[in-house]
Symmetry: C2
Subunit: 217 residues, 2 copies
Amino acid sequence: MNDSRRIKDLLYEQVARIGKAACSPKRLELIELLCQGEKTVDTLAREAAMSMKLASAHLRELRGARLVETEKRGKYVVYRIANRAVADFWVAIRSLAEDRLVELRLVIEQMVSHPKELAPQDRDSLVKMARKGDVVVLDVRPSDEFLAAHLPFARSIPLDELKLRLSELPKGKTVVAYCRGPYCLMARDAVELLRKKGYDALRLPEGVAEWGIAPVR
Amino acid sequence: MNDSRRIKDLLYEQVARIGKAACSPKRLELIELLCQGEKTVDTLAREAAMSMKLASAHLRELRGARLVETEKRGKYVVYRIANRAVADFWVAIRSLAEDRLVELRLVIEQMVSHPKELAPQDRDSLVKMARKGDVVVLDVRPSDEFLAAHLPFARSIPLDELKLRLSELPKGKTVVAYCRGPYCLMARDAVELLRKKGYDALRLPEGVAEWGIAPVR
DNA sequence: AGATTGCTCCAATGGATATTAGATTGTTAT
DNA sequence: ATAACAATCTAATATCCATTGGAGCAATCT
């Protein structure tokens, strides 16, 4: 019995390594960013609004749990998620949190109450409409993320450039904007801007991680 | 921007609450036990080999993350997982750990190298064979766990009683023994005993959590 | 070559966490 | 009523973790 106890402890300890990686808000934010595509430490630090030292330390932890991999490229170090299972896990832990924690649902409501949302279940019909050209699926993330992975038939206009490039969007059609996922606010802001300018715009709360689209290296 | 940052931090913080619940080996062990069915604090403490005080403290954490619920029953307090999503998450984090951590795969190999295993993919054929009576699916967990939930067509003989109740098993048929899941060693020990006694026995590494069978209250 | 940039390592800090002991509450058994 | 038991709470300790500053290393730019 004592023998199997020792083995058991080893097993749970290993699984807990994954839990430890996922127990810090900053690390979760880094994982979500990496789900959009590979990024350098300094990009990650900027986009997650933390010091490079801190980002580096957290990435070290993630690396220790084998959730991310690194590659040195010139003077940069590029991080990426180890494989799609990591993105799936991010979606899974997030949806368990949403299922169990009222507090989280409240924050989400408060955040997205204004623009209308597209229900996440009509994926197939959205793709169909996008293929036929009945709607414009708009990716408002930075263009490198679009290049790494994007939804089918999506067009890229990063949020910062949207105001200047409005003319590229046909005014008659509905625009469905998406970004990094439900916790990212870029699509919300894009929809707000588009509506002000007279467009018919909706936010799709999902992104590539939720659709199970793996970024290319 | 500062405004959305504050909201973002709230979001990731909430998800991290789930991660924090899953970052301790002991808490993971408690979750796995609770996936077998509801249990009192003192049962949990005994089965996970820790003091009741410690078990109580960890359960308090799990409760804070809303992963478990409690009910007072006489002088006992009964804990149970909040819903099936929790069991699914346990399976998910475990399989990510298995996917990413070589160390974990090594421990598992070392642990189950001896008895032959049933590949986890032939669920349907196993159920078919069990229905026809070609194999005996044997649940070796304590009987209250069997009562709370068990695999289809399974028969219950707890490991402690197996030696005395061997006569209940037909000698011609293959016995497929299972327990709480891949990290539980009861089925392994059962298979070892059965083989010694001349039975044709296999271990099924999965349990009710892996099969998505929710325990009844 | 010297300066700059991107990143990591080391050490130090404060804050959180795991674990145990002691006391306390509520419930059942005698 | 008293004793025994299940469970929790509080307090205390040791340990771990997040974060920051300083130093160092390697690649790039001028």
